[in-house]
Amino acid sequence: MHSSPSSELNVVLGGEAGHGLQTLGLVLARAVIAAGLHVMVVNEFMSRIRGGSNSTTLRISTRPVRAFSDRVDCCLLFDRDALGRLEGRCTDATVRIGDPAVFGGTAGMLPLPLQELSTQAGGALFANSVACGFLVRLFGWEPAPLETALRRTFGKNDSLLDQNLAAARSGWEAGAALHGRFALPVQAAAAGRRLLLDGSQSVALGALAGGCTFISSYPMSPATGVLLHLAKQAEAHGLVVEQAEDEISAINMGLGAWYAGARALVSTSGGGFDLMAEGLSLCGAIESPLVVHLAQRPGPGTGLPTRTEQGDLEIARYSGHGEFPRAILAPGSPEEAFACAAHAFTMADASQSPVIVLTDQYLLDSLCDLDPLPLPATPPATHIVATTPDYRRYAPGPDGISPRGIPGYGAGLVCVDSDEHDAEGRITEDFGVRIAMVDKRLAKFRPLREELSLPPRLHGPADYRRLLVGWGSTAPAIIEALAQVPLEQTAFLHCVQLYPLPAALEDYLRRAERIIVIENNATGQFARLLRGETGCDIAAQWLKYNGLAFSVEEIAALLREEEQR
């Protein structure tokens, strides 16, 4: 299954913050889609506004790609720091491209006179388009796909577009001697439109598909993207968007919004989620639906603000005092991010419980080309009832779920209280009522585990003996690596719903002789959860916690070691 060089190419752009690497990556990715190929763009960057050393990896392929590959076929370097920083990923086969004005006569480097050409094109602003033109020439393409991408990017401003088109053309001309150096076939464009979306956009679109009408959040990387994307849709989709004064306010606003009949989302990262703990517990007490997007980055403390990790599963699981139901969904791709965000609203509304969509920086900040995401045929059903004069918010119901009324809709009163309360929502210290209310709340675990749950997905033979288990964003790299190194009788179980464990999951674990859990953290949080909930025996854990995602190559190397075992 190893791809031949002609069908896949990894291009890395390296430079400091402020160079516009992410815009360059976006334009180039759009050109790749216009050429009928597939692409994944992975951004890794430092926590600063200018300077530092960042990189953008474009994985270009004749087939859809969803996983990070750390091989570097070609790197375009904007400064000397980038050369040093990317050196570890480069091999003898890597082609380095740089401006002689920056690198002088560095041995083996292909010269691209970027400063000179961009000055001629109108200034440093046009360096990205020059670079794109040059790279496209190396792919052996005519300028057309790139011009399509530039029109998509700058189409609203005629003069800016014309200057960028000219700059791209000059870069393309400059690459004449290297035409087709990395020949990539131009394919007939796929039938229908391919979208280029990052994980944040997918979560935001999923929230809208789930009927989200309210978002209150406090900015924090990498969770802010979802808030920004939804802010742009406030008018078009009739959405209330508010930047809260802190995360405590954000979650309490979210609960107030659901109480009044809105469908609210809060988006945050680990540190902000810590502040939301009491609000999450309130959500459990008043039996409110709530969707929380928890975008992981490495902690503890401020940690690595712009990097990735799967280190917050346990706070998602345990945060908030007292005992109450909740669900945790961890998407592994933009498609799943969309589906999980939408389903989280259905799940929260149906179970009157908090649902946490657990993502990470790698998933949120990476772009892929994909088919338009599947929208439901009808808007999601809402479970709000018109109240009657004898309405009681916490009346007993099947699976502990009471009909949910809202103020201003019906003839009854809707009373919710964070103190232990009776069926009417009035404070009580009656021990019998206490037991009944605890049991009522915990009864909601059953539908969360069964009909509302998202089952795990098995990749590989059903008669496996060895089972790799992963969750969230690690899935595509594991699936691809396993295709490259197909171990005998080995399958991969991708877990999307991490809590409560779906009924189907235990059966998969029971059938395995050797379970290996793969996680982007240092202590194996999901392995601990699996052991605690199922008593299963976990033979090995493959963990990574340097702040970066697993690459296909890393998983493949672990699989080869496993093969030699």
């Binding site: 405590i248 309490n252 606003m253 009044a260 209280d417 103190d419």
Partner: protein
Amino acid sequence: MSEHSWVRRDCDIAWCPGCGNYGILKLVGETLAELALDPQQTVLVSGIGQAAKLPQYCNVHFFNGLHGRALPPATAIKASNPGLTVIAESGDGDMYGEGGNHFLHCIRRNPDLTNIVHNNMVYGLTKGQASPTSRRGFVTPLQVGGVTLEPFNPLAVAIALGASFVARTYVGNAEHARGILQAAIRHRGYALVDLLQPCVTFNKLNTYQWFAAQTAPLPDDHDPADRVQAFARACEEEPLRLGIFYRQEKPVFEEQLAAYTDDARPLYERQVDLARLAATMEAMG
């Protein structure tokens, strides 16, 4: 509507005999009745503490949430359904201490809600510690040498932030208090009512007698449109002035939300427009 009994008659009330909260409960019930509010469209939001139990004793929709956190859900309830009348009430520790940050930013947002703060200058439910409004020198089981912190001045802070309605009243002057509560609920925008009350169990300093002696109405010539004068009078401690210190018309939070630009319906009546969402996805990608 006048037939609605806002105050419940059949419940076990958790307040001490003689507590100022009884008077506030009666005042709130009378005010809501006099304003002829629709009980189906009125929501009380409170935090935690003795004051925050008030909605329990009313026939009204209520959201009795977390200590210090009444204002965020109150703001969101109003933003989600602007047709509702929303009143956020709690004690001084809840609103000015635990919820201090929300107090500041709620004033900045200016949602159309009424914020009633029962101010007895002490913590009751946790048994007698200092509150943000306790006077210097106030001795408690925790502040054994007396309070050394500057008392929080909610009126001066609210006026400094450009709050749209800032008033103080005293439960012992029922007629005054009713008038202030009515004006606050009628006011379009955020309205702060700092409502002085004694705590008969834990505050032996700021008693009914003390409040009667230490409070006085704002002078007849007070101009609530004059922010500088309002600030100066809010800073006076002897006597503590009662009345509407400051009032101004300013844009209301929920009316400026893009969600209501073309659509006046409350959020619960809305559904996602799937065709529009498909177009959004296309434009985004």
